[in-house]
Amino acid sequence: MDAISWVGYISLGVFHGINPGMGWLFAVALGMQEKRRSAVIGALFPMALGHAISIGAVVLVIVFAQQQISGNVLGIACAVVLFGFGLYKFFRARHPRWVGMRVNFKDLTIWSFLMASAHGAGLMLAPLLLRMPTASAHSGHTHHASATMTDSATTLLSAVGVHTLSFFVVTGVVAVVVYEVIGLALLRKAWFNLDLLWSIALMIAGVVTVVMLFWGH
């Protein structure tokens, strides 16, 4: 994995982490409801897990697709999906219909998975994932294939891992700082429409995918 990829996965982790709808706001609310900081911290682990599963699912789909169809077709398909999803979210404000504040580890994991998936968090990583060398590209050298597969898997796991870690750290820091220091008045002043920005980010990711496809090599 090159430097651009690392920076990309980490930056998107930061971007996902600062979005109140992805986790920190719920963590703060749970802390306030139970009147203890440990409830804030405790919520972060299932949130990171749910986020990682959502991202991981997209990674698996893309890796599988890479085995089946040509890079160009896949790239264009990803670009269309990204841009279309972003455009849809730009004009149509919607949100997942989760109900419930009394949540355990499993609930929070599912909630985080739903939130990340519904927002297209994993999709946003597609341009980076498409830059990765794939196992299939080397399939001509049979005796190297398994080694390459292992390398590939390690790289993908690192990608999901580093993204989730940066998401976890940012969500956690924001949650604790809001809970302990700033307070929720912040929501009224500083919560600009990240969902709208998010939809624009998805469209940009779509465009970047196409650009990389035709001019990147």
């Binding site: 306030m32 949100h95 419930g100 008045a185 429409n193």
Partner: protein
């Protein structure tokens, strides 16, 4: 629909922050009628600096004999709730249910807050076909949509009544809310403790029991509601029924604590069949279960001249207080109780929800009494729907309950009015002598204050 870049400025994460909100400048008041002219949504000027302070600025006519009732906003502070946040929706539309006509009107207040526009009508047929219910009554904005309660089942006009959901973006009716209603059949009000995933519903009567005036036969047979129901919101399941006993008839307005970490609330029982008193009860979380306890008894009064009593009360010879609404301040400290029969409005300090302290009384109107207003002299009706500003300093109330019931208890006429009282922060209140809104032959019922009030919003953070 283009989205907003900033959260709606009228949304507040916590009740504490909402108390700091700027003062309201207009009120929206439901004005049903009994004379064959259409019901109307009226806008009242509340800006003391304005030349038209205390006057009706506009009337938007709706349907004839609709009995528009407990309307509310399309969106409120619940939009900030953490599990489904969508703070960029606007508090812009009033969702107005017609308790008799069964239509639901959507009014847009954004183009001109002083003159709402009718932008959509869900007809009775549509409401009944899509929700399965009829006679929609109370509206609350929830984190994931608009909740509406209704008194009866479509087609039968009998129970069970219940709750249905509406989409808060396009106002489509999404269908019946309950999955397991247990032994709940009668319906009326509902609200919730979102911090505990709990909803609470109360019981009035079915449409035939109320629509031609209170059915004294059904009352004698103790057929009106005497229970409240506790629901698991996540599974939409009735998990516990709290029975006040059938001595108590008509259990109406639910006022849960605004602080989401608190798990108690207040509800009024209109009539004790033994002595015609009204009462206030506190429901509370008790370990894994919920309990309910009576905290205030408000006795019936003896009239000076029994001949002044309306026919419905002649045989009884007493004036029941008929407590039919109450409101809890956003700091969960003061409860204001309207005694529609005796013409009194009581203020209690309920900081300790099991040991209320009586801190103030206002007198205006009342059966046989007709306590005067300083600006208007003797008035008809008595204190009924009551609403409080977010800062807890200004209390507004109107005098009409339900057209057919007004006629029964105030047969000499029930011309609508709205008044205001100034509240002392340490307890006590007095009528504003410069504020008396005369609705003429219209009745005046539910009040909503611009930007939110003490019964419009739910908060997910303490």
């Amino acid at each position: 629909m283009l989205q907003q870049w900033k959260p709606d400025p009228t949304f507040y994460p916590s009740p504490k922050m909402a108390i700091e909100a700027p003062a309201e400048e207009v009120a929206y008041v439901a004005a049903p009628r009994d004379d064959g002219k259409p019901d109307a949504m009226c806008v009242v000027d509340l800006n003391e600096a304005s030349d038209t302070y205390g006057q009706i600025l506009s009337r938007l006519e709706l349907g004839v004999r609709d009995e528009i009732h407990h309307f509310n906003w399309n969106a409120c502070s619940a939009s900030l709730c953490p599990y489904a946040p969508h703070p960029y929706i606007e508090r812009r539309y009033l969702v107005v249910p017609a308790l008799r006509g069964s239509h639901i009107y959507i009014l847009d207040v954004k183009p001109d807050p002083k003159a709402p526009q009718l932008v959509k009508t869900l007809t009775a047929d549509e409401v009944e076909a899509r929700s399965g219910y009829t006679r929609p009554h109370t509206v609350h904005c929830g984190p994931e949509g608009i909740y509406v309660s209704a008194l009866g089942m479509a087609g039968t006009e009998e129970g069970p009544g219940g709750i249905f959901l509406m989409d808060h973006y396009n106002f489509n009716i999404l269908g019946q809310w309950e999955v397991e209603r247990g032994d709940q059949s009668l319906s009326y009000d509902f609200w919730w403790h979102l911090g505990y995933d709990i909803a609470v519903t109360s019981e009035w009567g079915t449409p035939p029991m109320i629509e031609n005036g209170v059915s004294l036969e059904d009352l004698g047979a103790r057929k009106f509601g005497h229970k409240i129901h506790i629901w698991d919101i996540r599974h939409r399941k009735n998990i516990q029924t709290l029975d006040l006993g059938d001595d108590y008839q008509m259990i109406l307005e639910l006022r849960p604590a605004h602080d989401p970490t608190k798990a108690h609330g207040f509800v009024n029982a209109v009539l004790n069949m033994n002595d015609l008193s009204s009462s206030i009860w506190t429901w509370y979380k008790d370990g894994d279960d919920w309990g309910i306890k009576k905290i205030i008894d408000i006795p019936a009064q003896v009239p000076e001249n029994p001949d002044d009593l309306p026919p419905a009360l002649k045989d009884i010879g007493m004036i029941p207080p008929l407590v039919t609404d109450h409101i809890l301040s956003l700091d969960d400290r003061f409860l204001y109780i309207s005694c529609w029969g005796t013409g009194e409005l009581l203020q209690y300090d309920v900081s300790d929800p099991f040991n209320p302290k009586h801190t103030g009384t206002l007198k205006i109107g009342g059966i046989t009494k007709s306590y005067p207003h300083p600006a208007a002299g003797p008035v008809s009706g008595g204190p009924q729907m009551v609403e409080l500003s977010r800062d807890g300093k200004r209390l507004y109330f109107t005098n009409s309950l339900y057209v057919a019931w007004d006629n029964q208890f105030y047969p000499d006429g029930a011309n609508g009015w709205m008044v205001k009282a100034d509240v002392n922060p340490d307890g006590g209140l007095e009528l504003d002598p410069n504020f008396f809104v005369d609705f003429g032959e219209s009745r005046a019922h539910q009040i909503r204050l611009q930007g939110g009030d003490s019964s419009s919003d739910t908060f997910c953070y303490s």
